[in-house]
Structure formats: C-alpha cells, structure tokens
C-alpha cells in the first residue's frame, strides 16, 4: 500500500515537472484606480488553478504562473479583473471600485450601529473623509458645503475657523435653535459658541478634518429618532479614522501651503467725485444759498481751504483704505498620521498643525491637534475602544466683531466708507490721524482702521479635549452589551487689549477685556444589542439603551482700563479694574431608547424606534416625552423579477414617519426668575427677569419621508430621490405679550412651521475608457418653508414682522420702493394702497414677495481622471433668497453725510429734472428739509437677490506612477494644487453673498485661497 502511494506520488511528480519548468514568476502592484493608492490584501489567482496569493501592504504580489496564464485579481468593493500575463514578468493592475454595490457603503446610524446603504431605511447623506481631505478649511462643516443633498451650509463670515450655519432640511424653529446634533465617535458635542465675542468661534474647529473617516447625516426621523429630544434639526455623525488589522502600518504625511486673497473690493467714489456730490447735497438742503457759498461750505466742512481752485481739487490725492485693510495672507498645513494594527489591537495616531489668515489684516487661525484611536480585544468577548482628540486653537480676532459690526474702528465695516483724501500713513510712515497727533481723519469715520488692526491684541485660545471610551462585551454570539463614556471639555481664554494709542482707547489709556469660559460636557450610555438570523431569511435585531448627559458652563470676565504703556497689557498693569463678571449655567438630559428591526431576505426591512427623553430645560410638568418613529424599505431589485435585469442594478423604496424633539432653548427657560438687575448707590439690585412657564416642553418635529435609491447600468448611474415633509409644531416660541406687563414675551409651545422638500442626487460615470474616467455628481434640494400657525389671534409675530402665517420665515417686509420722482429727485414709496408717497409709515409695511430663505441649494462636482492625473471641480449654489444689502444702505449716502459711497450711486444719482433713475438726488443728512419726510436710506431700497453659484473648489492632483514610488521606497506620492472660492456668479453687489443672518454690515467676507500640497504615504 505504502509503495503504491509512493509510486503514484512519484508519477505525479514526473507529470508535473515539465509544467514547473515552464512557470515564470510574475510580480506587480495592485492599486486603486480611484486614487492610485496601493491595495493590500487583493487576491491574485491563476485562473483555472488553485494557485493564488494576496498583495502585501504596499499592494505588491509575486506569483508563479505558467506563461500566458490568466491572472484574476479580486478584492471586496472592486470589480474583479482578468489579465493575460503573456510573456510579461511584471503585471501592474489598477482595480476599479465596484460602484454598483450599494452594500459596500456603510451608514452609521448611532450608538455604534452601522448598516449598509441597502439596509438603511432612513434618509441619510454620507460623505467620505477622502472627499474633504486636504481642503484648506478649518472645520469639517464648511467642507460639506454642496456635497450633501438636504444640507445647507452657510459660512457665517469669512474668519478662518469661524462660525458656520448648518441647516438640515430647512429652518423649523423660530425662537429655539436650528443647529443639528453633532456626534464625534459617540461623543455628543457642545455647540455653544463661547468665543468671548472677540473672534468668530466654531465649536467643531477642534477636529482636524483629515482625521475624519466618514460623515453620516441623519436627515429624517427614521434613524434620528434614536436621539429623541435632540434630533429635530438632524444629526451629524462623525467617525474618525481607525487602524486596520493585518496590514502594514501606513504612515501618511500631508503638507500644503498657499495664500488667501480678498474676493472683491468695492468701487467707491474718488475725492473729486465726493466733493462734487457734497456740493450738490448741501445745495439741495439750502436752496436759497448761492452756489459760491455752498462751495465754500462744502470745502471748509471737509477741511480744505475755501478758495481751493478746481485745478487744485482735481489734483487732490486718493488713498485706498480697502487695499490697506484687505490683504493677502497665508495658509499652512502639516499633518502626520499612522494607522495599523494586528488582530488584537488597531490604532490610528495623528498630529497636525494648521494655520490660515483671513484676507483682512491680523485675523487668523491656527490649530495644533493630536488624535489617537485605539481598539484592543482583551479576549474573544471583550473589546475596549478608546479615542482622544486634543487640540489647541488660537485665533486672532478683528477690531469689532467678525459676525458683523458697525463699529467705526472696524476695518470690515469702515474701509470703504472712509473719505478717500485721508492718508493712511504720514510721510514718515507713522499712522495718520491718530488721537493726540493734532490731526484728525476728516469725516464721520475718523479712526485709522489700519492702525487699529495693527495695534490691538485680540487673542482667543480654545483648548479642547474630546475623549471616548467604550467596552463591548459579547455575551453570546447574538447578544452584546456596550457601555460608553464621552467627555467634551473645553476652555476658552479670550483677551482683547485695546491699545492706548487707538481712538477708542486713547481716552481711557488702554482697555483690557478678558474672558475665561469652561465647559464640561459628559455623556454616558449603555446599550444592549441583539441580532439573529432565523431560518436563513429572517433577521431580527433589537437595540436597547439608556443615556445620560450633563453639561456645565462657567464664565468669568474682567475689564480694566488705564495702562502705563502699550507694551504692558496684562490685567495687573491696569490702573483701574472697570468691571468683573461671571456666569454659570448647565443642563441635564436623560433618556432610554429602543430600536427593533426586522428584515426578510434582504427584500423587506421594517424598523421601529422609541425613545423616552427628559430634559432639565423644560417645565416641571412636561419634562419627559416619547419620540417614536417607524420606517420601512423594499429592495425591489432583490425581487426575482428584477434580479437579472440588465438596466436596473439597484432599486429600493423607503418610507419613514417619526417624531423628534428640539430643546435648544436657554437652560432655565421654563423657570420663573428674579435675576441680577442694575447697580444704584453702589448696591446691586435684583429684578424680575423671566415669566417662566411650568408647562414648557420640547418642540416636536414630525417628519414624513419617502425615498428611492437607484442604480442603473451596473451602477454607472446611481443616487437617491427623497421627498419630505417636516412639520415643526409646538414651537418653542417667544410669544409676544404687551410689554405693559413688564415683559415683552413668554416662552410657550405655540406655532407651527412646515418645510416641504425634494432632494435629488446622482452620481454618474460618464466616461470610463481605460485610463480616462469622467465622473459627475450632482445634488439639488428644493425647499418650501412656510409658517402655518402662530398663537391665538396673531397672523404675524408682533416682535418680528418677518414671521407671518402663510409665508416663509424671514419674509421680507417693507414698503416697496417706487423709484425717484423724475421732477425733483426725491425717493418715493408705495403705501398700502399702492399710492406713491414720500413718507414711509410703519402701518404700510407688508410682505413684499420675497424672503431670505433659500429656495434651492446644492452642488455639482465633475472629476476627470487620466491615469494618475485628476482634475476635480465643485460648483456650489444657493438660490432664491433675497436679503437687504445693509452694507450698501450705508454706501449709498452720496455725500449726504461725510462717508464715502459706491461709484454706482454716484454715476446714477438724480441731477436734472426729467431724469429717470433709482438713485435719489444727494441731500444733506439723507433727507429733505421740508419736515415730515422719511430718510432716503430706507432698507426697502436695498433688497437684492443673494443667490450665488460658486466654483467652491477646483483641484488638480497627480499620483506619481508606482514604479517611481517604489524606487523612492514609498507607498504613495500625490502632488496637488487647489483653489477655494475661485469664482462666484451673483447679482449681489456687497462683498460676499454668503453670510448667515440678514445683516451683512461689517461681516468679515470670505476669501479666495490657493494651495499646493504634497501627500506622502510610507
């Protein structure tokens, strides 16, 4: 027996020898065609044999194969590829990601749970970390702009690292907050904007966007209801990068540098034009004075000699204060990360430095951050997961507020307004017109704003720690238990030193405002997870959890004046402390929740959520409430009749209805309170401060959503369509009451706002020919916002005329402008009856047909790839909102007061009877002398379409060929260049149409940036 076996072995060996002799060693490298990065773990097989291997961490493989063998490369998430080796010894392959397979997109739905896109029953938007990688933007919210349907992102201002307004599916709340809930690795973030007022602070800026693996936005109640009373405005789940088991440790180095520049400056009148209009304005209000006397009056009023000749006027200088205030700045980023691990432990480590200037002098942002994620399997049952982000952010603020200011000393407000004959510096280089110098800057705007910006010291430091720790215990293979603790700790240290040389601080010999704020926000939860497949087709899963969150916020402020020299600027140097302040607040939340899910054969999915939530913010009678949701999905493509369809590769129909809550009101909004009043005779007083409402409860959102996920032609066309109706009811509304009661409002659950919308997104692979690939992504959101109920007897909110039943929020209310009377150059208005009048009455105010709420928004991305070269461009748009251009309101005075105006108003001003124009004649103090008139400068004149389309991002990158990379002993090298806010198309004539709110006066505008970078993988 043994001999026979031995003999047959020998025999087979004999047969095999010639074969072995013909084998060649084929080697090569497998990369992803998406970004050229090496793919580790790709299976390489010789077709028709059992011979195979896998690629190593650098994507390299080596295999013995017969000549002319067919090699099959396959990898999860990529289209398998067959290559005939021929006589080649090296076969490099670029695998294309398998776009058809919706299963591969993982959607995180809260409390550690994740489902595939195919299983998801709710409306979600998912953005992969690599999409927002290396953008010169300090917080990930800004990077999401234009990339997710249903999510509207508006920078509040252009301060780097500054506040961003995120609105998911419209604005539902009138008096309470509209911000979504942000959760980073399970930690519910504090989104208080405690910047101390000196800088524009973004609570999300602590996180380096390059540390992000993915962002999942829960838009409807199907999944968001698990967060109950906090989820009404949507939930943004951020997952940071983690190590991967089994792969070689990957080290990534990112470097980019660049510069920022102002997007636009405004064309303003010259010295000569200003003098000419000033003369007209004075004459208009002094009809009986001779022109010669008016000329004298105008010239002397501007500080010129009264006998200045016309030639001398023509020779007067012009200084550009905008150019002096707006300048180019720099952008710098370095980050280094490492990720890897084995089957027991995986890790991700990163450190980064990011710096960016605004386009306005001395406004900047810098951040140092460190991040660590660690997962360790203690044994087969117990896993510990820990993550920590540490960051220190330093921002230098502007003079005045970045969010908008009318402070004369603030360049973001005053630069275009200062009269152009005022020099910026003296011949010796010192600043012109400083207090105490004996010369003053002529005009209403009499501060040297460049000196202000250069001399003040406005520093805000935010140190933040966000940490999470969880233990996951596998009780049985179907049942697991997880406890989680998260901490978000932040301290804000802000100080503003008003240099004693500057106008506002000269009199008090310098001013110091200091602000310290500590916020401790702790979340803890415990969840039980059960999931089991019965009879192969029935999957039942159950989540049961309980959660507790507590936040405490403390502030101390100090104000002092009287500094001996500008160089000493700590509080101990102050001669006199002028005031101190303090504040303390906090809230608690508790909740229990459950999610029951049933899935049949991947075809029918049903999910139900119920959360019972309590918040300390509400009235003692109404602290607790239920938040249910139910959702279902039918994966039609899985049905027998579609399974082999050549056109439709994916088709799913979703429906959800559910309820979520909003508790974004002040922490003690329900209480009847006496608070600190004023000081008299050296004593502090107390006064009644809040009416309170023991019945106050959350605002409730009921959201209906119907969605369709589609994939056609093997996924070359894919996307989703959603329709939704979001009813926000029992609004936490500050109901106006007559202030004869001593209060002007009371918080009540009254009113209703309905947002109806349609979302569409599509990703299409237009061309896929060998090395060339063109992919397009387009998304659009159409939104219809309407106030449907207010309180008893009110069809308009008394304190805010822009809130009225039947109209969208932020409806513009006014008295329409009727243009200029051609006979006399005076502005006219339409009264309530449509008659032309010179007088604007409060009673004539009515909705004028537009609102400051956008009707549609979205983005359009095109990506062209050719080998390692990639060109990508994102057009972002926001359409259909009309806002009063308040900045222009002050730039249209036409020498009515001593402020400069835009050349548009100069060019189009009324000068002669019969002239048809929209710009009234210049008139001193913006009004006619003949009593009972309205000011020329009515908001109504300045409504403008604030729609815009913007080339938000354009980038060109090149992945070096793998051969070259191998020679460099690297795993990837990418060089790239990109521009942010490259081009803007808009009718808006102010600095920038993108700002939050409805007043653009003194808002720091967005800037344009250009960066070039290098990304090295080791």
């Amino acid at each position: 027996m043994r001999k026979i076996l031995f003999g047959s072995w020998l025999l087979s060996l004999l047969f095999c020898l010639p074969l072995l002799a013909q084998d060649v060693t084929v080697s090569g490298r497998v990369t992803s065609s998406d970004d050229g990065t090496p793919l580790p773990g790709v299976s390489v097989q010789v077709k028709g044999t059992t011979r195979g291997t896998t690629t190593d961490a650098s994507g390299n493989y080596k295999i013995n194969a017969p000549a002319n063998a067919r090699l099959v490369f396959s990898f999860i998430g990529y289209v398998a590829q067959e290559v005939t080796s021929g006589n080649r010894k090296t076969v490099d392959v670029a695998l294309q990601s398998n776009t058809t397979d919706l299963n591969e997109v993982v959607v995180r739905v809260g409390y550690g749970a994740a489902v595939t896109k195919k299983e998801a029953t709710g409306a979600t938007a998912n953005v992969k970390g690599d999409v927002i990688e290396n953008l010169p933007l300090q917080s990930f919210d800004r990077a999401l702009q234009g990339r997710a349907a249903g999510v509207q992102i508006t920078s509040s201002n252009g301060a780097p690292g500054g506040a961003v307004q995120v609105r998911i599916r419209g604005v539902g709340s009138i008096s309470a907050g509209n911000d979504p809930l942000y959760i980073v690795d399970g930690v519910q973030l504090n989104t208080r904007n405690d910047g101390g007022g000196n800088v524009s602070n973004n609570p999300l800026a602590f996180l380096n966007p390059n540390d992000i693996e993915s962002i999942d936005i829960l838009k409807d109640a199907a999944t968001a209801a698990i967060y109950g009373a906090q989820a009404a405005n949507g939930v943004v789940l951020v997952t940071t990068k983690r190590g991967k088991a089994g792969a070689k440790t990957r080290v990534n180095l990112n470097l980019y540098r660049g510069f920022v520049e102002p997007i636009r400056t405004l064309p303003v009148m010259s010295t000569q034009q200003f003098i000419a209009t000033r003369i007209e304005a004075l004459q208009a209000s002094r009809p009986t004075t001779t022109p010669a006397a008016i000329r004298t009056l105008a010239l002397t009023g501007l500080g010129f000699a009264q006998d200045l000749t016309n030639e001398a006027i023509a020779a007067l200088p012009n200084y550009n204060w905008q150019e002096a205030s707006y300048r180019n700045g720099s952008v710098n980023n370095v980050d280094l990360s490492a990720q890897g691990g084995n089957d027991k432990t995986t890790f991700y480590l990163s450190g980064s430095y990011n710096q960016q200037d605004a386009s306005l002098i001395n406004i900047d942002f810098s951040r140092l951050s460190g991040k660590m994620n660690l997962t360790h399997k203690l044994n087969s049952k117990l896993t510990v997961d820990a993550g920590v982000t540490l960051s220190t952010v330093k921002q230098r603020g502007p003079y005045g507020s970045s969010e908008g200011t009318t402070a004369f000393g603030a360049p973001q407000y005053s630069a275009p307004l200062i009269l152009p004959f005022n020099p910026i510096t003296n011949p010796d280089g010192s600043y012109f017109g400083m207090p105490g110098s004996g010369v003053t800057i002529i005009g209403d705007l009499s501060q040297n704003i460049v000196a202000n910006s250069e001399l003040i010291k406005s520093n805000t430091n935010v140190n933040q720690l966000v940490g999470n720790l969880s233990l996951n215990y596998l009780i049985t293979k179907d049942l697991s238990f997880r406890v989680f603790g998260g901490l978000d700790y932040r301290t804000v240290n802000s100080s503003f030193f008003g240099d004693p040389r500057t106008s506002d601080n000269f009199g008090v010999k310098g001013r110091l405002n200091q602000f310290v704020n500590n916020n401790t926000n702790a979340t803890t939860n415990a969840t039980l997870n059960y999931s089991r497949v019965f009879s192969g087709k029935h999957t039942i899963s159950l989540l049961l959890g309980t959660e507790y969150r507590q936040e405490v916020n403390e502030t101390t402020t100090l104000n002092a004046v009287g500094f001996p020299t500008p160089d000493l600027n700590t509080a101990n140097a102050a001669a006199e402390p002028s005031s101190v302040g303090g504040a303390w607040t906090g809230f608690k939340r508790a909740g229990v929740f459950t999610n029951l899910k049933y899935e049949y054969d991947q075809r029918y999915i049903l999910s139900a959520i119920l959360r019972y939530d309590g918040s300390s913010r509400f009235g003692i009678e109404n602290r607790w409430g239920y938040f249910p949701s139910i959702s279902a999905k039918w994966n039609i493509a899985e049905e027998a009749f579609l399974r082999d369809n050549k056109v439709i590769s994916d088709l799913g129909l979703r429906f959800s209805v559910g309820s979520t809550g909003n508790d974004q009101v002040s922490n003690f909004a329900a209480r009847r309170l006496y608070g600190l009043g004023g000081v008299y005779q050296g004593n502090s007083g107390i006064g009644v401060s809040q009416l309170g409402n023991p019945n106050l409860r959350w605002e409730r959102n009921v959201t209906y959503n119907a969605g369709l996920d589609y994939g056609l032609f093997d996924g070359r066309l894919k996307g989703s369509v959603e329709v939704f109706k979001r009813i926000s009811r029992d609004l936490l509304l500050t109901r106006s009451i007559p202030s004869t009661n001593g209060f002007s409002d009371i918080f009540e659950n009254i009113g209703e706002v309905v947002n109806r919308g349609f979302e569409f997104d599509i990703t299409s692979t237009n061309v896929n020919a060998g090395a060339f690939r063109w992919e397009t992504n387009f998304n659009v959101t159409l939104l219809d916002n309407k106030v449907t109920k207010l309180f008893e007897g009110a069809d308009v909110l008394p304190g805010n005329l822009s809130v009225r039943i039947g109209y969208p929020l932020n409806t513009n209310v006014g008295v329409p402008y009727a243009g200029v009377n051609p006979a006399n150059g005076r502005p006219m208005w339409y009264d309530l009856n449509g008659n032309i009048t010179y007088i604007v009455r409060t009673a004539d105010n009515r909705p004028i047909g537009h609102s400051a709420i956008s009707k549609s928004y979205g983005g359009f991305t095109n990506t062209f790839t050719f080998g390692g070269l990639e060109l990508s461009a994102l057009l972002q748009y926001d359409l259909g909102k009309t806002v009063a251009n308040f900045q222009e309101f002050r730039l249209a005075d036409n020498a009515a007061v001593l402020r400069n105006s835009l050349t548009y108003y100069y060019d189009n001003r009324w000068t002669t009877p019969g002239q048809i124009t929209s710009v009234p004649r210049p008139a001193e103090n913006r009004t006619e002398i003949s009593g009972r008139v309205s000011s020329y400068q009515q908001t109504n004149r300045f409504y403008q379409d604030a729609s815009y389309v913007r080339l938000k991002q354009v980038s060109l990158s090149y992945n070096l060929p793998s051969k070259l990379i191998q020679r460099l002993k690297l795993s990837s090298v990418k060089v790239y260049a990109q521009a942010i806010n490259a081009l803007t198309w808009t009718k808006w004539t102010g600095f920038d149409p993108e700002f939050a709110g409805t007043d653009n006066q003194g808002v720091i505008p967005q800037s344009r940036s250009y960066t070039a970078g290098l990304q090295l993988g080791f």
Partner: protein, 484 residues
C-alpha cells in the same frame, strides 16, 4: 410601556445618580420668583433695581434730556456722531422719544414689590416708607410715559386724542397674570398720578435726598404734574411745600457756574445717581457725548487759554448744540451764558456746546442727572400764579429771583400778566435749557414748534411718539397714536 421605561430609567438613575435629582439643576445666577421678595434683602435689592430703570438711555440716561432737546427748538444738530440725533433734530417721522418697554419694566418691578410688601418681614412703618418711595417712582414713570406718548388733559385735541397710557397697577410674574390693557384716558392717568403722589407725600421718607425718593421730591413732582394738568392751585401749593421741604439749595450768582461743575447739583430735589465707573453709558450713548466734545471739567476750564494753539482731541461727539438764536437770547451779564463754550474739533467743526454735563462724576461720559431742582419750582409757582391770575406780585418775585440770580436786573412791578408770563417762558428756556423741558413745555401749552429744519404744528403726528408697533400687534386693545 411607560412603566417599562420608568423601570429602565430607574436603572439609569441607579447607575448615574439618585432618581430624584436625575434632571435637577438649579440656576446660580437667578432666584425663583416665588421666593425672591420674601426677604428684607430681596425687597431692598429690588427697590435698588427700580432706580436703575431711571438710568437707562431712553429715560434720564439720555433721551428725556438730549432727545427732547433735539426735537425742540433750542438746538441744532451737527452731524458728527455718525448720524445720531439728526433725524430727531429734523423731526423726521418715527424719530422720537421712546422707552415704552423700559417704563413698564420699571413699573412692573414696583408693582411686584408693592404686592409683596404686606406679607414681607418689614415693620408696618418700614412698609409704609418703602410704599411711599415706590409710589413716587411709579408716578415719575407714568408722568414721563404720559408726556411722551399722550397729550396733556387740558390741551388735548379731541380728534387726535387716543387716550393716555395703559395703567398697570398690579405685578406680573407668572403667565396667568398677563394683562392686555387698553389706554386709560389722560384724565385717568393724571388721577392715578395724583393718588400715587398723595400717598408718596404721606409716606415717603424725609431723608435720602436727592438720590432717593423723598417727601420733598414727591411734592416737587406733584407741582410739576399739576402744572401740566393746568391745576394751578395744586401747582402753587406743592411748589411752595417742596421749597419748604429743605431739600436742595437755591444757589447764588457767584456759585451758579460752579453748581454745574459739581458732581451733584446743589439745587437737586431728586437726582439720578451714576456712581461707579461701570455705570457710564459710554461714548455712544451718554448725555455728555450728546452735548459736547469736551472730556472733563478740567479740560473745559483749560480750553480758552489754549486757543488758538493746539487743542486736545475731541472726546464725545457733541452732536446736539445750541442754536445761535438761543445763545443770543442771553443778556450780556447772564452768568448762564458761561455754560456754553467752544468745543473741540470733531469732523472739522468747532462750535459752541452746552457744558452742563461734563463727566462731573470724575468718570468720562458719566454725570448725575437732576430730575427736579429748586429753580424749576420757583418757575412752576410763578407760572401757576400768573396763569391763574393769582398773586402776580409773588409770580414776579419768583421770576425775578431767577433773573437776579443769573446776574440780570429785576423786572419792574409794572409788568402786565402777559409780560410776566412771557418773562417766565423766557426764563424757563434759559434756566432749564438742555434739561429736556422745552419740547414738553410747548406741548403742554398746545403751541407749535417753529424751527429752521421744518415746523411741527401742535397736533401734528410728530407731537406724540409712536407706540411701538410690536405693542399694537401684541395687544389688540391698544390704539396707536394718529398718523403712524
């Protein structure tokens, strides 16, 4: 289901803390309304707080003086304050006095204390004293509300009279107490003023002047209220009583200017105190900056010597300045003319400014504000006597007291009643200038405002301030003033 959840919550509570305080958190910056006024300290602190309402910009902090003067005919506006006061100076519609919500905020705090007093730990005598003090303050608030938003009882034009102001006399500190009052008639408002002032005279303390409400202050205010009501006997009676109260010292000619340079005006019967640096209303909103570019008393005194050399930079805006006609109304020897002097260069204009408010507290942009002072009482009594054709000798004596103290000669006893009244009007304009009287004097006499930027005939829309539109919308019972 609910029990199931409660069981789970109980488990949570056991995990994270005890059940009872799961959601308990107490504010540290505020006190619950129901306990705030149950202690002596609470009530005292709340009374203190009531005074701070008078410091607000829309009341005596600025507007009742500066904006009233801008509306009136003694001033012109230099537009060097970023457009501030310009519209009021030109009497542009809707640019007016205001403060509706501030007044009622103060009134509500007063009402709440008055409601809490009977059950408070104070003795009956202490309660009475606090009541008297608060009723004076409430009367002062209602009097000002009424003269800003409504016509005076005896001169109201029926066709234009939409009533006085709503009278709210009980406190509101919880939702069920919210009221939707209609405007009381002007007569009803004045009846209430009489009641409150009568109580105040009976109960208010006699000490604490001039910064706290006193019996003397109540008598003085009563005199003014009665004059506005053309109730001349009471105006005479209470002016006389107030003068006898011993509060306030009628200053002499030599220390007249000095009286306007001291922190507290010696003549003050009631004066709003600004004491600590943080109470300064700042460069944008203070009285000082409204009237002058000069930084301090010391600087005002030093300027003449510096001219025509280099002058210090301007501090305030100095937007509201006297007209040439007003300055010309002073006779050559009038010491009061010394209160008007050339200011500093701002926006390339150097003009004569009023220096009654100069940061006399020692802190820039912070001055005490005299509400009623002795000189006014003599003028009230003189006017009431003359207009009621009473004791003309006394009337002439009172007005001559003002004249001679100002360094002018006394008017002869041969003056007719009309001439005496004209002289009283003139002396009111000169003596009380920039203290916020002239606008209201024209209005209470039913007279037209005549000024170069356009006249405002009596009864014009702009005679009264607009009730805030939000109030009209929030309270269906409230009627807007005509024309708005």
């Amino acid at each position: 289901m609910k029990y199931f959840f409660q069981l789970l919550l109980l488990t949570t509570a056991l995990l994270f803390g005890s059940c009872s305080n799961l959601l308990e958190i107490e504010p540290r910056q505020s006190i619950d309304s129901t306990v705030a006024l149950t202690t002596r300290e609470g009530i005292n602190a709340s009374v203190t707080n009531v005074y701070t309402y008078f410091k607000s910009i829309s009341l005596y902090g600025r507007d009742l003086l500066a904006i009233a003067e801008a509306l009136g005919d003694e001033t012109r506006i230099i537009n060097r304050a970023g457009g501030r006061y310009v519209n009021e100076g030109q009497n542009v519609i809707n640019s007016h006095l205001g403060g509706w919500a501030t007044y009622y905020g103060g009134i509500n705090n007063i009402n709440l204390i008055l409601d809490a007093l009977p059950t408070s730990p104070f003795t009956t005598a202490e309660q009475a004293s606090i009541e008297g003090e608060l009723k004076f303050l409430r009367a002062l608030l209602y009097f000002n509300l009424s003269r800003v938003y409504a016509y005076e009882p005896k001169v109201a034009v029926t066709a234009l009279d939409r009533g006085g102001v709503p009278l709210v006399l009980t406190g509101v500190s919880s939702p069920e107490q919210i009221q939707y009052p209609k405007r009381a008639t002007v007569a009803e408002v004045y009846d209430q003023l009489y009641k409150d002032l009568t109580d105040a005279i009976a109960k208010a303390p006699t000490t604490g002047a001039p910064n706290r409400a006193t019996k003397g202050a109540a008598q003085a205010l009563f005199a003014r209220v009665a004059l506005y009501n053309e109730d001349f006997p009471n105006a005479i009676k209470y002016a006389t009583d107030a003068l006898a109260s011993g509060i306030g010292r009628f200053v002499g000619t030599t220390d007249y200017v000095a009286s306007w340079r001291s922190n507290s005006h010696p003549e003050s019967i009631f004066e709003i105190l600004f004491q600590t640096r943080q109470e300064s209303l700042g460069v944008n909103d203070a009285l000082q900056t409204a009237y002058t570019t000069i930084e301090s008393v010391a600087q005002a005194n030093s300027l003449a010597a510096l001219r025509p050399g280099t002058l210090p930079p301007a501090s305030g805006y100095g937007g509201i300045v006297p007209t040439d006609a007003f300055l010309a109304r002073h006779e050559a020897t009038d010491v009061r003319r010394q209160l008007y002097q050339l200011g500093l260069n701002r926006s390339n204009a150097i003009v004569i400014e009023c220096t009654k408010f100069l940061g006399k507290s020692g802190v820039i942009y912070m001055d005490n504000v005299p509400v009623i002072r002795v000189s006014e009482l003599y003028l009230i009594r003189a006017e009431a006597l003359a207009r009621s054709n009473g004791n003309l000798t006394q009337a002439l004596a009172d007005v001559n007291l003002i004249r001679t103290r100002a360094g002018l000669t006394a008017k002869a006893a041969t003056l007719t009643n009309a001439e005496i009244q004209a002289e009283i009007t003139l002396q009111r304009r000169l003596e009380l200038a920039f203290e916020g009287h002239r606008w209201f004097d024209l209005k209470r006499r039913g007279q037209d405002l005549v000024k170069s930027t356009g006249n405002v005939p009596y009864g014009d829309t702009r005679t009264l301030a607009p009730v805030p539109n939000s109030e009209i919308l929030a309270n269906k019972n409230l009627v807007q003033n005509p024309g708005y």
